[in-house]
Subunit: 231 residues, 2 copies
DNA sequence: CGTCCTTTTGAACATTGTCAAACACTGTGG
DNA sequence: CCACAGTGTTTGACAATGTTCAAAAGGACG
């Protein structure tokens, strides 16, 4: 039974409500591959031949232009990426590389498009997923255009804390240089921004972060669901 | 015959392939309204009660946070906006105001969601639309994070020229203060950026722009479809 | 002709980026 | 176990970029 091969992804919002037949059709041409750290999986400009789904590890999505580079997002399990390029049969707009050792499920784009045409439950799930992606991207733009780098960092830290039930001590999920790039600044500037947040109770030691006065930090950062909400 | 009321939008990608019955269902509760210039149609945070479609005039989408404001996009006829909020039944992430005198078609969100559930052609059209919006937003983020303000302006001008069959003389479509905000800078900085582009053949007089050396400007701006493409 | 608004210009300032060096951390190989 | 290279982080001095404030110039419109 083919559909039992990919139980890990069956519960993902994209596949939860589709028929067994549709899932079979997707699973038939799909395969799972293991990648070592720092492997470039896709490059911007390439044809979108496969829908990628991260099963374990993580993938950094980044973009380049004229020898500059910026981190756009990090994808954690279990999530799909480059869905829009796949469904529209357009070239990737972002490149992707593994951070740690990473397991990826690859589904041929033509199969995704075929099932999209035939299974309206799948089409609906794709609409929900794309709408969420779009709204996340709009929030990101607001964050970039309306806030200074210090404010972006403060709100990022609050978001980390919220994600772990408002825990006041946590580890940064990835290197500071990547975090800096994600937040739209240089590593040097990130380092200085951390220092500038000390008066608001932000303590950093390596990857460990302690928020000693969340109230004060929130008063400074002024987070709002319209920018910082998970949806 | 209800469906003959809204012939202007029948050819829009969202509605082109849907059944007459579906179009009727959308048209039944829909209405068209005229708005004077500078009228706020929607405010971020509000419930998305209607899908908006610009029939004539134009609408500025903008966002605010802590007394700062930024222009996110301008919507021209015939285009829908805030589709993602409508379909997901979430609050608006952006506010919208008319620029000139503007005619808007308003379709109740619940009708949009109902037809989305019943008509798979409509669902497919929505997928295409959302995917395009998402990719446009990613391109916008790349533009903001990878380029300086001068480079953003140069590429914007090239895009204007391209839109009019590479015409070297054209008018800016809206005020410079809005353009500045859209490009992520202050009006003062925009003014200086225009001056800084003079060596590349950029001549500005009021709203009129002349590109006297497109080759040179392109050599400076280095446009790419992966950021500047219309799709 | 004035009034209001936008745009431009200038100067001071703030923020962010660049470059170079020091430092810390990690893992390797002797 | 230590020396060492390689990488990432922090710091300082400086440069570039972008913002703010104030004022002048230009346009639109009654």
């Amino acid at each position: 039974m083919t559909s039992e091969r990919f139980t890990e992804v069956r519960g993902h919002p994209l596949f939860k409500n589709i028929s067994d037949g549709s899932f079979e059709a997707l699973a038939r041409g799909a395969y799972v591959q293991n990648f070592p750290p720092h492997t470039e999986l896709i490059s911007e400009g390439e044809a979108a031949d496969f829908l990628h789904i991260v099963l374990s590890g993580s993938v950094e999505l980044f973009c380049s232009w004229e020898s500059r580079e910026t981190t756009m997002a990090t994808v954690w399990p279990v999530s799909a990426f480059i869905l829009a390029a796949t469904i529209r049969d357009r070239p990737y707009l972002m490149s992707g590389r593994t951070l740690g050792k990473t397991r990826i499920m690859l589904v041929p784009s033509q199969d995704v498009r075929a099932v999209f045409e035939s299974d309206s439950e799948f089409a609906k799930a794709i609409v929900a997923e794309l709408a969420n992606f779009y709204r996340a991207s709009i929030k990101n733009t607001k964050n970039l255009k309306l806030r200074t780098s210090k404010e972006r960092l403060a709100n990022y830290l609050i978001k980390c804390s919220r994600r772990e039930e408002n825990c006041l001590v946590f580890e940064l999920q990835y290197e500071k240089r990547r975090l800096a790039s994600y937040l739209g600044m240089t590593p040097e500037n990130l380092s200085r921004s951390f220092n500038a947040l000390k008066p608001f109770g932000v303590q950093v030691d390596g990857q460990k972060v302690r928020l000693e006065d969340l109230e004060k930090l929130i008063a400074f950062a002024k987070p709002t669901d319209l920018i910082d909400g998970y949806e």
